[in-house]
């Protein structure tokens, strides 16, 4: 779920972007976040995900395959970062997610019985569950596509932020804001969901565009340090204390931290309870478990393996897959194998 900093991000720190701006740039994509987006969005009218003949869900593979090809065609260089072992302080959030999914499953059944497809779709989206088997299939697909996969030792967003801090990627890509707390200098939202999207419960379509959020501008315009931003997030609620502090929203959290300086001084005033030591949570955001042991390299797509995997194992349409592979090969040749340079190299 991630921390919801949406209402706190100053307008000066974010802007809509066009994909043309991203040409040649490396993106460390939060893989779990992207897969959940695909799993949630790619569904039939009643909310049933795409499935193969054996009843295995394939929505995540479909989204990952076609969207990644779109990225490469537009000149982006994606690298997917997968979550490792969740930190112990995340136990409360994981338990909460399980509860939400169980409740959604009940409501889904009721909606189906009532014949309310709109509600059924909504609850089905909330039920989205990414199993280990699905994650392994996604990794295998990326491997055959020649796209780098990075295995984080802990949180994927922390690793993606670290890769961006080191300059190995231009931005992290996720719908969540956590990577900013982990120190990513630049976050791109909406990358995996850009395009025409239907508004929930309305028959209205909107054009979703990528949004760039820059950490230094967030800190500058809010007038806080990164550590203070983390403190604010902890008061609102993070993955490690999902409930936050009762009665404290983004504005009050900002005022409290700016007035008193830090969590240590604010907590006694609020007499709040936390499922985990909030200072420990802050420490995790400041120093998460990450690794230097990763490679960001793209390679030629393996046509035969892709067809065998998608069509042979998961019943994808052979003609559609073959067409998409041709697009991928062309885009790889044009945008990755051959490097399009920028004129800025000759300006000085």
């Amino acid at each position: 779920m991630g921390v919801n900093l949406k209402d706190l991000i100053p307008p000066e720190a974010k802007r809509q972007a066009e994909f043309s701006e991203f040409k040649g740039k490396v993106f460390a994509i939060d893989a779990y976040n992207a897969l959940y987006q695909f799993l949630s969005a790619i569904r039939q009218a009643d909310g049933t995900p795409l499935m193969d003949s054996r009843g295995r869900v394939t929505s995540h593979l479909s989204g990952l395959f076609y969207r990644t090809i779109n990225f490469i065609e537009m000149g982006l260089k994606p690298a997917y970062v997968f979550d490792g072992k969740p930190p112990e302080i995340k136990a409360a959030e994981l338990a909460r997610r399980t509860r939400v999914k169980e409740e959604a499953a009940k409501k889904y059944e009721e909606a189906i019985r009532r014949g309310d497809l709109e509600a059924a779709r909504r609850y089905a989206q909330m039920m989205s569950k990414l199993t280990d088997e699905m994650v392994e299939a996604a990794k295998k697909l990326l491997y055959y596509m020649g796209i780098p996969c990075i295995q984080a030792p802990g949180e994927g967003e922390a690793q993606a932020a670290y890769i961006t801090i080191r300059g190995d990627s231009w931005a992290t890509a996720s719908q969540d804001y956590d990577s900013l707390l982990f120190g990513s200098p630049r976050l791109v939202r909406n990358l995996t969901i850009s395009g025409k999207r239907k508004l929930p419960r309305k028959n209205v379509y909107i054009e979703v565009k990528p949004e760039i959020v820059e950490l230094d501008k967030v800190l500058k315009y809010l007038g806080v340090t990164r550590s203070q931003l983390i403190d604010i997030a902890i008061l609102i609620g993070t993955d490690y204390n999902p409930e936050g502090v009762r009665g404290v929203g983004p504005k009050r959290a900002l005022t409290l931290i700016k007035t008193h300086g830090s969590l240590e001084k604010v907590i006694p005033l609020l007499k709040a309870e936390f499922p985990e030591d909030p200072i420990k949570i802050r420490e995790y955001f400041l120093n998460p478990t990450v690794t230097d042991n990763y490679k960001i390299e793209w390679s030629e797509p393996d046509e035969k393996c892709l067809v065998d995997f998608l069509c042979g194992e998961y019943d994808f349409s052979k003609s559609r897959v073959n067409h998409a592979i041709e697009r991928l090969k062309k885009a790889y040749r044009e945008n990755i194998k051959v490097k399009q340079m920028g004129l800025d190299a000759w300006f000085s």
């Binding site: 043309s20 991203f22 040409k23 051959v338 399009q340 340079m341 920028g342 004129l343």
Partner: protein, 251 residues
């Protein structure tokens, strides 16, 4: 104030269409000495510079430097309506933040008026690549266009190889190749290579200049070893359109 009448509305149509292919917004700078547009594409692969001196206009009035921005798609939709008989008049209405575009038929005197809202934003002061390019070629735009179209059949990029006596354009694709050897008069109008040079360019980027070619008869091409290509189009009646394209580096 800024008010000017450009005698070739139909030619300006091609120029505006070329500008629109680079960015969504067109930043104009008008000075007493003429009109200028300078834009770098968001991905920095192409740059376009349009310079129309005041002499290129039938009439030109500008008391001081002014900058304004219009949406590229809105401008092209309007200028596309210009015909060969039309003069295109520009009038900057600063008070109402709009650009007035008037097509005036030279024969009948009938005028059609469009109002285009100006967009907010600052016109960035852009530099230009600072490089000496050893290869200099002039050729008919028609020949250049055909070369790009030929190459496009086999590949999405073109290798330009300059030798002391000839220019080679090469494209290589899957099981198909294209090679065009060009020399002075065959069909090059002029050719000078002070050093041998090879560079590769994306055909999609070069193709952006095709619209400009419809307004001009010849193109002046300059490039160097793995350097950007500079295409200069002399606009009939005065002015130039310069188009820079960054090269591709093969990894």
């Amino acid at each position: 104030m800024f008010k000017a009448a450009y005698p070739f509305a139909s030619k300006f149509k091609y120029i505006a269409q070329t500008l629109a292919k680079v960015t969504d917004m067109i930043p104009f700078t008008v000075r007493p000495e003429g009109m200028e547009v300078k834009m770098l594409s968001p991905d920095k692969t192409t740059m376009i510079i349009l310079r129309l001196p005041n002499l290129a206009f039938d009439s030109y009035e500008c008391d001081s430097e002014k900058t304004f921005i219009v949406r590229a798609d809105e401008l092209t939709k309007i200028v596309r309506r210009g015909t060969r008989n039309d003069i295109l008049e520009f009038l900057l209405d600063e008070e109402r933040r709009r650009l007035v575009l008037v097509f005036r038929d030279k024969r009948t005197g009938v005028s059609r008026r469009f109002y285009l809202q100006l967009r907010e934003g600052v016109v960035e002061k852009l530099g230009e690549p600072k490089i000496a390019l050893p290869v200099k070629i002039r050729m008919l735009t028609e020949d250049f266009k055909n070369m790009l179209k030929d190459a496009k059949i086999v590949s999405d990029e073109i290798d330009m190889k300059a030798y002391s006596d000839r220019l080679e354009a090469i494209a290589e694709g899957h099981q198909k190749n294209y090679k065009n050897i060009m020399r002075i008069d065959k069909p090059l109008i002029s050719y000078e290579a002070s050093a041998e040079a090879t560079a590769t360019y994306g055909l999609d980027l070069l193709e952006v200049s095709l619209k400009a070619m419809q307004a001009c008869e010849t193109v002046y091409i300059e490039f160097g070893e793995n350097f950007p290509m500079k295409l200069t189009f002399d606009i009939p009646g005065g002015g130039v359109l310069i188009y820079w394209v960054a090269p591709r580096a093969k990894t």
